[in-house]
C-alpha cells in the first residue's frame, strides 16, 4: 500500500531529509519519501502493517520536530 500524508510546518529542507531517513528505518517500510516542496510524506509498506507504521512515523515526527504534524485522515 502506498499513501501520502500532509506534514504541517516543514520549514527546513535538511530536517525533511532527517524525517525521511528516520521513517525509512522503521521496520516494514519499503519506501518513504518526504517532499519538502509539497509538504508531503509518502509511505509504501505492506497492508497489514501499515497502520502501525503510520503510528510510528507520527511518533517519530513528534520526537524529531515537535512543531511538525503528520495529518492522518
Amino acid at each position: 500500500m502506498k499513501k501520502s500524508f500532509k506534514v504541517k510546518g516543514i520549514d527546513c529542507a535538511n530536517c525533511a531529509a532527517k524525517l525521511e531517513a528516520g521513517v525509512k528505518k522503521i521496520p516494514g517500510v519499503d519506501k518513504a519519501i518526504v517532499s519538502f516542496m509539497t509538504e508531503k510524506l509518502t509511505i509504501e509498506a505492506a497492508d497489514d502493517k501499515f497502520d502501525g507504521i503510520v503510528a510510528e512515523a507520527v511518533a517519530l515526527c513528534k520526537k524529531l520536530e515537535p512543531d511538525w504534524e503528520i495529518v492522518v485522515k
Binding site: 517532499s35 516542496m37 524529531l64
Partner: protein
C-alpha cells in the same frame, strides 16, 4: 573600573543573546537528546557562544540574530515559491452545482458527484469534473490545462475536461468521470508525485550534504587545536574555527536544488507540459535524438480531405455526392468526408436522400442517391463499373466518384501535417538536437515527402508497430554517450516504445490513461513545438540547478579558505550561509518563468 563596564556589556549581551537565540538553543539541546549532534542549530549555538567567550559580544549576538533573520527570510521565500507553484496548479474547484429539489442550484463537493449526474457550470466557473455537454454552448478557457490562450468553442455533445474555465454561456454537463478520475485530479497527482522521482543532481546534493557538515566540523576542530599547539595564539585560531562552523550548514543546497526542479516542473505544467519527475527533466535536457511516431505528433493522425477535383460539377457538389454515398459506412474515409462536408456546408448529412447502399470491401460503395447510381471508391471500383478514372498528382488516398457509371472526379484524403511541425523541428535543431527521426507506417513515398518538407534527418517508412521498438533500440545504441533519446508518440499502441526510450513523451492524450501511465512527459496540447519548449524548459532548469550547486559550494569553499587564513570574518561566514541560501532560492524561482519564444 573597566570591570563594571565589562560586566554590564556582558550582561546586556547575554540578555539579548538569550532573547534572540533561546529558541535555537532549545532546538539544539533537543536534537542532541535525539542523538543528532551535527545539526545546524547546534553549530550556530557553538559558533555564537564561542564568540561570546572570546569576548566578541557583538559578533556572538549578531551571528544568532542574522541566523534567525536569514531563517525567517528563507521561510518566506520558500512559502512564496510553494504558493506560486500551488497557484499554477489551482485548477480544481471546491464545488459543483447540482439541481436542488425546487429547481434551484445547490453547491456540493465535487468528490460526491456520481457518474451520470447533471451539473450546471455557470460563466466564470471552472469545470469541476469531466463530462459531456447536454445543453448550452460556450467558449472555454483551456489555458490551465493546455497553456493554449485561444478560447475553444464548445456545444452540445462535446466532451469537456475538468480544470477549464467556462467563459460566457451556461452549460449543463452530464458527469462522465468521478472526481478522482477526472483530468484535473490526475494532473495534480502527477505533478505532486513528480517530486518523488529525484534527479541525479538532487541525489548528489543529498549525499553531499550528508558528508559536508561533518567534514567542515572536523576541519573546524583541527583548525582550533592543531595550529595553536604548534604556534600558539589560541583565540585567533578558535575564532577562525568558529567561522567554519557558521559556513558548515548545507541549507542553500538542500533547499534550492529541489526548489529549482519543482519550479521547472510547475512552470512547465502551466504550459500544458506535465513532467513526471526531476530525473526526466534531467534526461530531457540532454536529448540529442528526438524520434517522432508520425501520426498524431507531426501529423494530425486523422485523415482529412485535402483536395476535391471534379471533372464537370462544382467542388461542393462532388463532395456532397461522395459523402452521401458513404454516409452509411463507418469507415475512417466516410468520417473524413462527413467532417469536411459539415465544415464546408455547415449542413448535416441528409441520409434520407440515399435509397440503398452496397459496400464492396477494399473497393468502395455503390449507392442510390436521389435516384441515381453513385459509386465512390478506388480505381478497382471504377474498373468494376467500367468508368474511366485517372490518378491524381497528389499523394494520399483517392476516392473516385461516378454517376451512372460516368466518371465525375476524385477527392484526395490524407493525413495532414500539423501547422507548427516545421517550426518544431527548426526549434529543436536550434536547441542543439542533432538528430530528428520520423517513424511511420505510411508508404515510403508519402514518408519521404513529409520528411523533406519538415527537414527531418532520418525517416523510416512502412513500419509495423513492432518494428518501432527495434528501430528505437538501434538509435539508442548509436547516440553519443551522456546524451539521451526522446520518443514522441500519440500514446496509441506505443507504450512499449515510450517505456524503452530514455524519455517517453506522449502528446494530446490526456484521455488515454495508458499513455499517461507509460510516458515520462505528457503534452496536453497537440502542438509538436511543445516538445521543443519542454527541451528548453529542461535545459533552463538544469542550468539554474547547476548554477546553484556551483554558486553555493563555490562561495562556501572560498569563505572556508579565506577564514582559515584569517581573511574572512564572521560576517562573511554568515553571508556564505544564509545569504547564499537566499540567492539560490531567488535563482531557483526563475525556473517558474517560462517564455514561449
Amino acid at each position: 573600573m573597566f570591570d563594571i563596564k565589562e560586566i554590564a556589556v556582558l550582561a546586556i549581551a547575554l540578555v539579548v543573546y538569550a532573547l534572540v537565540g533561546g529558541k535555537i538553543i532549545k532546538k539544539a539541546l533537543r536534537n542532541i537528546k535525539n542523538g543528532q549532534v551535527f545539526d545546524e542549530n547546534f553549530l550556530m549555538v557553538v559558533a555564537s557562544l564561542g564568540s561570546l567567550i572570546l569576548g566578541e559580544y557583538a559578533e556572538g549576538v549578531m551571528v544568532m540574530l542574522l541566523y534567525r533573520i536569514g531563517e525567517y527570510m528563507q521561510n518566506r521565500a520558500v512559502g512564496k515559491s510553494r504558493r506560486a507553484i500551488a497557484d499554477l496548479m489551482d485548477i480544481r474547484p471546491d464545488y459543483a452545482n447540482v439541481d436542488g429539489e425546487n429547481g434551484e442550484l445547490v453547491q456540493v463537493d465535487p468528490e460526491d458527484l456520481e457518474v451520470g449526474t447533471v451539473i450546471t457550470v455557470k460563466p466564470g466557473e471552472r469545470v469541476p469534473v469531466d463530462g459531456i455537454i447536454i445543453e448550452g454552448s460556450s467558449r472555454l478557457d483551456t489555458a490551465a490545462l493546455t497553456g493554449e490562450s485561444v478560447p475553444r468553442s464548445v456545444g452540445e455533445g462535446d466532451e469537456i475536461y475538468s480544470g477549464v474555465i467556462n467563459l460566457n454561456g451556461v452549460l449543463r454537463v452530464r458527469v462522465t468521470k468521478p472526481c478522482s478520475e477526472s483530468t484535473a485530479t490526475r494532473i495534480l497527482e502527477l505533478i505532486e508525485e513528480a517530486a518523488d522521482s529525484k534527479a541525479s543532481a538532487e541525489n548528489f546534493i543529498t549525499k553531499f550534504a550528508r558528508y559536508y557538515t561533518p567534514i567542515v566540523c572536523g576541519l573546524a576542530l583541527a583548525l582550533a587545536v592543531i595550529p595553536p599547539i604548534i604556534a600558539g595564539s589560541w583565540s585567533v585560531w578558535i575564532y577562525r574555527a568558529l567561522t567554519f562552523l557558521v559556513v558548515s550548514c548545507p541549507c542553500a543546497l538542500v533547499i534550492s536544488i529541489p526548489l529549482g526542479f519543482f519550479g521547472g516542473i510547475g512552470g512547465a505544467s502551466s504550459k500544458g507540459i506535465l513532467i513526471k519527475g526531476g530525473n526526466y527533466l534531467e534526461a530531457l535536457s540532454m536529448a540529442d535524438t528526438v524520434v517522432f511516431d508520425k501520426p498524431g505528433t507531426l501529423t494530425k493522425g486523422i485523415f482529412s480531405v485535402v483536395a476535391v477535383h471534379p471533372e464537370h460539377m462544382e467542388e461542393e457538389q462532388l463532395l456532397e455526392l461522395a459523402t452521401l454515398a458513404e454516409s452509411f459506412s463507418d469507415h475512417p474515409i466516410s468520417r473524413s468526408l462527413a467532417d469536411e462536408y459539415k465544415r464546408v456546408t455547415r449542413k448535416k448529412v441528409d441520409k434520407a436522400r440515399v435509397a440503398s447502399a452496397e459496400e464492396f470491401a477494399g473497393e468502395g460503395i455503390i449507392a442510390i442517391v436521389d435516384g441515381k447510381k453513385v459509386a465512390a471508391g478506388n480505381s478497382k471500383l471504377m474498373k468494376r463499373i467500367g468508368a474511366e478514372s485517372h490518378e491524381c498528382h497528389l499523394h494520399g488516398t483517392t476516392v473516385h466518384v461516378s454517376i451512372d457509371d460516368h466518371y465525375e472526379g476524385h477527392i484526395i484524403i490524407s493525413d495532414v501535417v500539423k501547422e507548427d511541425s516545421k517550426s518544431a523541428i527548426e526549434k529543436l535543431k536550434a536547441l542543439g538536437v542533432k538528430k530528428t527521426v520520423m517513424l511511420t507506417g505510411d508508404k515510403a513515398y508519402i514518408a519521404s515527402d513529409i520528411a523533406a518538407d519538415l527537414n527531418l534527418d532520418e525517416h523510416h517508412a512502412e513500419l509495423m508497430p513492432q518494428d518501432k521498438v527495434s528501430i528505437v533500440e538501434t538509435l539508442l545504441a548509436k547516440k553519443a554517450e551522456n546524451r539521451t533519446l526522446a520518443f514522441v508518440g500519440d500514446g496509441i499502441n506505443d507504450a512499449p516504445v515510450l517505456a524503452r526510450a530514455d524519455v517517453g513523451i506522449a502528446m494530446g492524450s490526456m484521455g488515454s490513461s495508458a499513455a499517461v501511465e507509460a510516458a515520462d512527459i505528457v503534452l496536453m496540447n497537440d502542438k509538436p513545438s511543445d516538445v521543443a519548449l519542454a527541451v528548453k524548459i529542461a535545459r533552463k532548469t538544469m542550468g539554474i540547478v547547476y548554477q546553484n550547486i556551483v554558486l553555493s559550494i563555490g562561495i562556501k569553499v572560498a569563505v572556508l579558505i579565506l577564514a582559515a587564513f584569517g581573511i574572512a570574518n564572521m560576517w562573511l561566514a554568515i553571508f556564505a550561509d544564509t545569504g547564499v541560501c537566499m540567492l539560490a532560492i531567488l535563482n531557483s524561482m526563475r525556473c517558474l518563468r517560462i517564455s514561449d519564444k
